[in-house]
Amino acid sequence: MKRNLHVLLSLLVLASMVLAACGGGAETEPPAVATEPAAPEATEPAATEPPAPHFSGIAVVTFVQQPTTLSPLYQNQWFSSITTQLWLKGLWSFDSDNNPVLEIAAELPTTENGGMSADGMTLTINLRDDVLWSDGEPVTANDFVFTYEMFVSDKNVVNSTYPYADYVTSMEAPDDHTLVVNFNAPFAAWLTTLFNTGVLPEHVLRPVFEAEGTLDNAAWNTAPTVGVGPFVFKEWETDSHMIFEANPNWIHPAKLQQVFIRMADDAAQEVAILAGDTDIATFLDWSQADAINSSGKAKFVTQPSGYDEGWFLNFNPETAHPAMLDVNVRKAIVMATNREKIVNDLLGGLTTVPATFWDSTPPYGNPDISPYPYDAEEAGSLLDVAGWKDSNGDGTRDKDGVELVLRYISNQRQLRKDVQAVVQQMWAQAGIGVELVNYGDDFFNSYADGGPIATGNYDIAEWSDVTSFPDPEQSSYWLCSQVVGPDNPDGGNWQSYCNPELDALFDQQATETDPEARKQLYYQIGQIMFDNVVWVGMWKDPDLWAVSNRLQGVKFSGASPFWNAREWFINE
């Protein structure tokens, strides 16, 4: 009996393996129900009865991290937030160039159309009257008011109450399709922050909130079966996959039938990309670009998302090397560094050098500013003028008995270590010495633990940082009031840079509700920081994506990567 069982099991497995081998490779490709060679633009329906939308194809997306939740209230992780563009739209999204794209809002509020009050304190937003939740219920202004209430309710432990608790005094719905937002002061970032993570379905969640006193444990958080977007949530098997199906109720129906999100670790993701087993992958490394592009299955795509790799300089006279306080020395350091060569040699020439902190946050980077060029001769002249000369013949410049040896720190990332080594060689030619130090991430930024940046134990620190993308706000890094110290341990200004002129401009932009005027303010900010060499851009550090050749119509956005998911289609 037992022997027979073994024989039976053996035969079964052998047969399975033979079947698998006979299956051929084609079966392991993500199946496409049908192909759609051309993607016609959405047009207004001519007849009174719109034709039923036709969905076809499945796009497979790989995530290397498991989303923690799907609810916009609790999202504290990038992978959670980027899924919302598939199934939960807000008032507007942002396209590849960071321009707003209307979703549920009927028009963008401006001073001219009366949407923004003259004093910048009240915003009136007109909503489309034809938007339905995936269950057929209409989306109304009350849904937005409810969302606001849930964000500011002390019954919910939300990820962030910004900007609602800080800037919004009230929100009203005078009718189903008009939303009025009242601010406590003119609020510049309204366009990029209000409902940027979507709107909550009041008819689904208010009963839950009233019954349980909180939305913290709502089943909708992990199984949001009602949404408002081109796709609707169908299934989430934790650590395995998520499925979003086309939503026939969305105003701009998707072309795909399904988006299948598969969780995988980095190695499995790379295999999947190269094998053509996934259509979209992210959290990649620059070093993967060649393999992906030469695989014939996918292409490597970059998309600005506000991140730039750069040098943050120490301006604290008590802790910085004295040379760091001289703008000519700072300029010389930059000009002695061949950043173009670094980008070409270490990053495959796939990105460029930013001139200002806002170059990757369009349209706030000043187009009139170009990065300081590599010019070793000019760098030497600047150092000579500043009095830093090699008086003792040891190969390193000095002044008043102080050697020009700078402490250049970063974390343990290999790419940064490589850059440090290259920079060390470049600076040696200009007579600049360098001490290279690398710290663990936990310690690197910490003030409480005596980390090197916050306590000023550095001259140049390198890391990749970001604006409040798509909003340009990041003033706390350079405001005088934010200088970190024992009396201000939570201060955001670790560089100890203080410039009243810059402070005034940062304060002004924070309340400038006219996007064009605000852009001009950022041009001025960028110019001052560039002239004074306050921050040095090493390379633009965009989001790195891989897109399979079979998935067409994909345009990423730094703010809302899947903003145009409805346009995606499969072309075998």
Binding site: V13, G25, V60, L274
Partner: protein, 359 residues
């Protein structure tokens, strides 16, 4: 025999109770804050107090344990803090993946390991013996995650476009949603009943479910997805079984009754399979039993490399997130598997060697 089994099952109750209590108490005695582990560092004291009260975490451990045991006896393992789902539901979602993976790996281990062990013993000191044992040594020392990645690269990339191409991750291809066998059989089961839970559990083992449902397409896809993880996971147990089979067979082949059998003029095949192999099975079965336990509990790396949502991964994450419900329930489930496996191994002794009297 029945008395023996009954007695062993009765004895396993205090073992499981002890495991449950130890897990329950240890999870709560480790210095940690389950509220902030779940809700994040920003959770205020007021919110955390409400959280602790809602989950009964303000009660003494013994009181909590008493309440918990009452629920467990009713078949309710509580709710996961993290997923806001009943733990039973999560077990039904996760355990079938691990069970299917472990059994697939075990079947491969038995087929390959026993065959190699027998060949190696019969051809003792030949090149086949040397190669097999060298392979077994490499197999024992090969990291599963490395082997998994290599298999994925070879079968997904190097062999791409050939009939031997296999998918590198997941359990099924995107877009393939299998129908539960009970729907194919037109069974109308009531949700929440034991029968429904059992049927749901079975239906989530894709290979088994597709056989029952007669769904060839899903069967083929599920087997294709299972081959690489099962191969990776089976390596160590295959090597152990091969080594144990070899040494056990060598011992038996040196016995007088084998020489007698050969002297009688029996064919080599009959001597090896009928007289030697059966008598060598006892230690092999022990290793197989222990291997299955190890495969069930140790699949976490394989599950990670091949993107399989099984028990190992969720247990690890639950421990770090202080998700007590999941830690307790899965620990008990794994313990039950070990208890049952040990019992089956003991019972098999009596079947394989009639001299052994279990009573």
């Amino acid at each position: 025999m029945a008395t023996y089994i009954f007695r062993r099952l009765l004895l396993s109750i205090p073992v499981l109770f002890g495991i449950l209590f130890a897990t329950f108490a240890l999870a709560r005695l480790i210095p940690s804050d389950p509220c902030r582990a779940m809700l994040g560092e920003k959770a205020t004291d007021a919110v955390c107090n409400e959280f602790i009260k809602r989950h009964g975490l303000d009660q003494p451990i013994l009181t909590q344990f008493g309440v918990y045991m009452g629920e467990v006896l009713k078949g309710d393992f509580g709710k996961s803090f993290r997923f806001s789902l009943p733990v039973t539901e999560i077990i039904i979602q996760r355990l079938p993946t691990t069970v299917e993976l472990a059994f697939s790996a075990l079947v491969l281990s038995i087929i390959i390991g026993v065959s190699l062990g027998v060949i190696s013993a019969v051809r003792h000191n030949s090149w086949a013996d040397v190669v097999t044992m060298l392979w077994a040594n490499i197999g024992v020392s090969m990291p599963v995650f490395w082997l998994g990645l290599m298999l994925a690269y070879i079968f997904s990339l190097t062999l791409k476009g050939t009939p031997f191409q296999l998918p590198p991750s997941g359990r099924l291809s995107a877009g393939l949603i299998p129908s539960p066998f009970y729907e194919a059989w037109n069974l109308h089961l009531t949700q929440g009943t034991f029968v429904f839970i059992a049927a749901e559990f079975i239906s989530r083992m894709n290979i088994f479910n597709s056989i029952l449902a007669g769904d060839y397409k899903t069967f083929k896809d599920a087997v294709q997805h299972m081959i690489l993880p099962a191969l990776a996971l089976s390596t160590i147990s295959t090597a152990l079984i091969a080594r144990m089979t070899r040494s056990s067979m060598l011992e038996v082949l040196g016995q007088d009754y084998i020489r007698t059998a050969r002297a009688k003029g029996l064919k080599q095949r009959a001597v090896v399979m009928k007289h030697a192999f059966r008598n060598a099975l006892l230690p092999i079965v022990t290793v197989i039993g222990l291997s299955l336990g190890g495969l069930l509990g140790g699949a976490v790396l394989t599950e990670t490399v091949f993107n399989l949502a099984g028990v190992g991964r969720i247990l690890y994450e639950a421990i770090t997130a202080r998700d007590y419900g999941i830690v307790q329930a899965f620990t008990v489930v794994i313990a039950v598997f070990f208890v049952v496996l040990n019992l089956l191994v003991d019972i098999s002794y009596a079947y394989l060697d009639p001299r052994i009297r279990l009573n």
